[in-house]
Amino acid sequence: MRLLTHNMLASNIKGVANGFPLKIEVGQVVEKHVDLNPEFLKNMFAKLDYKVLVEASKTMGYADLPEQAEPSMLESEDFLRKLNHALLELHLEEGALVCPETGRKFPVNKGIPNMLLHEDEV
């Protein structure tokens, strides 16, 4: 699971009001190269919760993203490379996503988060 996906996921348990962001518990992180695609990154930047991305990438062991970002920084290749790395190259291979409200854990195995709910959570 990439951190862009993490940025799109929220706890789906019935009755949870603030299910975002899910806290990441790291078992194993893997890195896979992704070619830089500036236009895609620029489009996605507008949709991102950047602060959540910064925290998530720190949890995954990558602390090079600036704390604050604004659209003008997308002209800098250095920033785009960092954004590319954090969003697309880091994968949570094993671990869990934790609902911020209830503490319920959604396991991540082989890079696939299991968001299936139990009957009493739907």
């Binding site: 990439r2 789906n12 895609f40 996605m44 959604f106 696939i112 968001m115």
Partner: protein, 250 residues
């Protein structure tokens, strides 16, 4: 030059996972036929609901992956075995999609709303007794409940939520699902539609429908709603005038 799609010999399998069949081939053929438009569409995010063997999402990733423009691919399935198989199929073709084990798009609806530019769905569309819907394993790949519409009718509102303003939805349906009725219902939500592929096999008659948001259809739908309201308003108005008549007479 024909665009690449997934190769059958590279599709992984599992006893509890639906193998690519006529419906899967019809959907991929429809995507391939629309490939030029899809590339020109420059989607940022593509989502498949119910990826099964991974044949469709791998084909979509191959069709769109050769360009400088590379979208982000997401795929969900309720069946964990299916995601394992999808993952192996993607790997065998050298493409990547983010996989999520979930029911339809549960967990994604809040944050992914309005962001999906291309959505593909080969839903469980076979008419079955209602209690078979949502059963574990391979049954979840085909059991569609009454008229095969139970799951389709759950997916369409989710699609409406997730699709971006320029979003396209490709969905496999059967004659028994009443495809033209589906188009009329989606028109009320502001979607234009076209049956992009129709194919009769020995067992079923398949229709691949493409839906897209159309500002005019939305306007018409809103006007229809407004005139309904206005109609009600008139009814109340005439009732009031009749009442006032009654009072006047007294």
């Amino acid at each position: 030059m024909p665009h690449k799609i997934a190769q059958i010999r590279l599709i992984s399998s599992h006893p509890e996972v639906y193998e690519p069949c006529d419906d899967s081939f019809a959907l991929v053929d429809a995507l391939q036929a629309d490939c030029k438009n899809l590339i020109g569409h420059r989607p940022n995010i593509c989502l498949e609901i119910g990826s099964g063997s991974g044949y469709v999402i791998a084909s979509l990733a191959l069709l769109l992956g050769g360009e400088a423009w590379r979208p982000y691919f997401l795929a969900t399935d309720i069946n964990p075995h299916a995601l394992k198989v999808t993952s192996e199929t993607l790997k065998a073709h050298g493409v990547h999609a983010e996989l999520i084990n979930t029911n339809i798009a549960s967990g994604l609806e809040a944050r992914l709303a309005g962001l999906v530019d291309v959505m593909v769905v080969n839903p469980p569309y076979v008419p079955t007794p209602e209690e078979e819907v949502g059963c574990e394993g391979i049954t979840s790949a085909w059991a569609g409940g009454e008229n095969g519409r139970t799951v389709i009718d759950k997916i369409l509102p989710v699609a409406d939520k997730l699709l971006s303003d320029k979003g396209w939805l490709y969905i496999v349906t059967l004659t028994a699902n009443n495809p033209s009725g589906l188009c009329i219902e989606m028109k009320k939500k502001g979607y234009e539609s076209r049956i992009v592929l129709q194919r009769s096999t020995e067992e079923e008659s398949l229709h691949i429908i493409k839906f897209w948001r159309d500002p005019e259809a939305l306007l018409e739908a809103n006007e229809a709603k407004m005139s309904n309201k206005a109609g009600n308003g008139n009814a109340i108005g005439s009732l009031l005038s009749q009442l006032s008549h009654v009072f006047m007479e007294k």
